[in-house]
Each structure stands twice: as structure tokens, then as C-alpha cells.
């Protein structure tokens, strides 16, 4: 689905006015995994990208089950949105014309393959900022649905 501008404005790193997000995946047998992520961006009109920095269980889960959910976290600013859709990890080594759900992988990696260089974590407090960031690839979701997670609207579609 096409992401509205308000969503595109929110799915950026915190230092650019966006938010930390949480990525939830699941094993094929239904064991969920929920981790926070700082490096997030929108690609094109339909895709969310997250830097893949050795997210071990996320990789195992996505290799056997592509269903995932991305939730906005802090600062929330009323943006209680959850995004769902097919998700994968892409990295160098794919065939040159390989695509994920219609998005050319080589183009994504050329733009976002060195995220720490593109958007260094300057807003992260020095005492917890990783001295070196090693990126293995990019997590990509093609957004198919958006639902609300505000307590009184949990699970309902978001009206933008």
C-alpha cells in the first residue's frame, strides 16, 4: 500500500524527526521475537527499511516466515501505528536484477548499505553509542496494512 506523508515523516531516524521502531517477527511455529531498531527509513512509496546489524533471531525467523510487524516507539507523538507485510533481509550477493516484492535489491543496497555513514547515530548518548557499527544488510518490509495500537483502538485500521 502507498504510505501517506505523515507515515514517511515518522519513519526516519530520531535525529531527523522520526522515531525508534520495534520489529516483531515470528518463527514458523509461532515463537515471536521483538527488538528495537534505530536505523529506519521509507523506500519508494511502499517499503520500510531497517539496518540489519546482526539481528540473529530476526534472520532465522525471516528465513522461515516472512510475516512481520513494525511498531513505532518513542517519541510516539500520537503515532501509534503498526505496519505489517512480507519482510526479508537483503544483502550483497544477490543476482544483479534480483527484486524483493518489486523493489530492486541492488538499488536499495547502493543507497542504504552503509547506513552509519549516511545517518551516523549522533543523537545517541555517547555512553551507549556503539563505537563501531557493522551492518550486514537491510531488512525490508513491503507494507500491506497499517493498524492502530493505541489501547482503545488496538488492531483497528488507521485513518490518515
Amino acid at each position: 500500500m502507498k504510505l501517506p506523508k505523515t507515515v514517511k515523516d515518522a519513519l526516519k531516524i530520531v535525529g531527523s524527526g522520526g522515531a525508534v521502531v520495534y520489529l516483531t517477527t515470528s518463527s514458523a511455529a509461532g515463537k515471536p521475537n521483538t527488538v528495537g531498531e534505530r536505523f529506519v527509513a521509507v523506500y519508494g512509496d511502499e517499503y520500510i527499511l531497517i539496518a540489519e546489524m546482526f539481528a540473529q533471531k530476526t534472520r532465522v525467523n525471516l528465513n522461515e516466515n516472512p510475516r512481520a510487524v513494525i511498531t513505532l516507539a518513542h517519541p510516539l507523538k500520537g503515532r501509534s501505528w503498526a505496519f505489517a507485510g512480507p519482510t526479508a533481509i537483503i544483502q550483497e550477493g544477490h543476482a544483479p536484477d534480483e527484486e524483493f516484492e518489486g523493489a530492486r535489491i541492488s538499488g536499495i543496497l547502493a543507497e542504504w548499505g552503509d547506513w552509519a555513514q549516511k545517518e551516523p547515530p549522533s543523537e545517541v548518548p555517547p555512553d551507549i553509542r556503539p563505537p563501531v557499527l557493522v551492518q550486514r544488510g537491510v531488512i525490508i518490509m513491503k507494507v500491506e496494512s497499517i493498524y492502530d495500537f493505541a489501547p482503545e483502538r488496538a488492531g483497528l485500521p488507521v485513518n490518515f
Binding site: T25, T34, F54, N65, A73, H74, A154
Partner: protein, 138 residues
């Protein structure tokens, strides 16, 4: 059962969590709770709205596996993930914690903490963070 540190409990109580559940077919869904409390040393309790309960009931009753990520303001310092078994009691979700992982970026991402000696977990925390939970204003 996993043994939580005081710091872990303080963060969960103070900022709540993003709560991941999944269907038996592996389709995940997420709700978010802003606060939590503890029933006992290992069971975290979330007071939820009726709609939140509706949203997760089928998942939890058919597949009680739950994942928790502390998600409130400041919780970049609460780099933990908790996994356990959930049950719904009225308007509450209770999760008995069974696994604890570090989500600190870098070489310690995915490190399982509950299998370490408890003293090592305390040392792990003490040498990485100076706080004992979220700031009082959060």
C-alpha cells in the same frame, strides 16, 4: 523461570513494553502497554484495554508464547528482550518470563542473559549502564 534483575523490573514497570504474540501459523501481532507490574519475581502483569485483549486473545489462548521489548521513552538503555508464557486473566495479560536476551547493538546482540550466573548478569548491567531504571520523569 528466568531471574530478573531489579533494573529489568524497573524498566518494565516504568515504560511498559511492545508485546509480541503470534498465531500458531506464525503470523505476529503487536500491542503496546505503557506500564507494567509484577505478580511475583518472574511474572510481569499488563493491565490492558478490552480492545487490546480482543486483539491478542486468540493468539495467546492458542499459542501462549510472548515476546516483550521495553519500548517507552528512554528505553534505548533498556536493551533487553524477554520471552515467556502468557495467560489472560480478565483485563490482564500475565507473562511468566522464561528467557532474557541482550539487544544491545554489536557483539552482545542476542546474548542470552538468563543462562548466565545471576552475579554475571548484575555485572553485565553495572558495567554497561549507570541507571537503575527509567528516570522518574518518564
Amino acid at each position: 523461570m528466568a531471574l530478573l534483575t531489579t533494573r529489568m523490573k524497573n524498566w518494565l514497570e516504568g515504560t511498559g513494553a511492545h508485546i509480541g504474540t503470534a498465531s500458531t501459523e506464525g503470523i505476529p501481532t503487536v500491542i503496546v502497554a505503557a506500564k507494567a507490574s509484577f505478580d511475583n519475581s518472574n511474572t510481569v502483569v499488563f493491565d490492558l484495554s478490552a480492545r487490546q485483549i480482543d486483539h491478542i486473545r486468540k493468539n495467546v489462548e492458542s499459542n501462549p508464547q510472548v515476546a516483550l521489548g521495553p519500548g517507552g521513552l528512554g528505553s534505548i538503555r533498556a536493551a533487553y528482550q524477554f520471552k515467556g508464557t502468557g495467560r489472560i486473566e480478565g483485563s490482564r495479560l500475565k507473562v511468566a518470563i522464561e528467557e532474557i536476551y541482550s539487544t544491545k547493538p554489536g557483539p552482545e546482540a542476542g546474548l542470552r542473559l538468563d543462562t548466565l550466573p545471576f552475579e554475571s548478569v548484575l555485572r553485565f548491567e553495572k558495567t554497561r549502564w549507570q541507571d537503575d531504571g527509567p528516570p522518574a520523569s518518564v
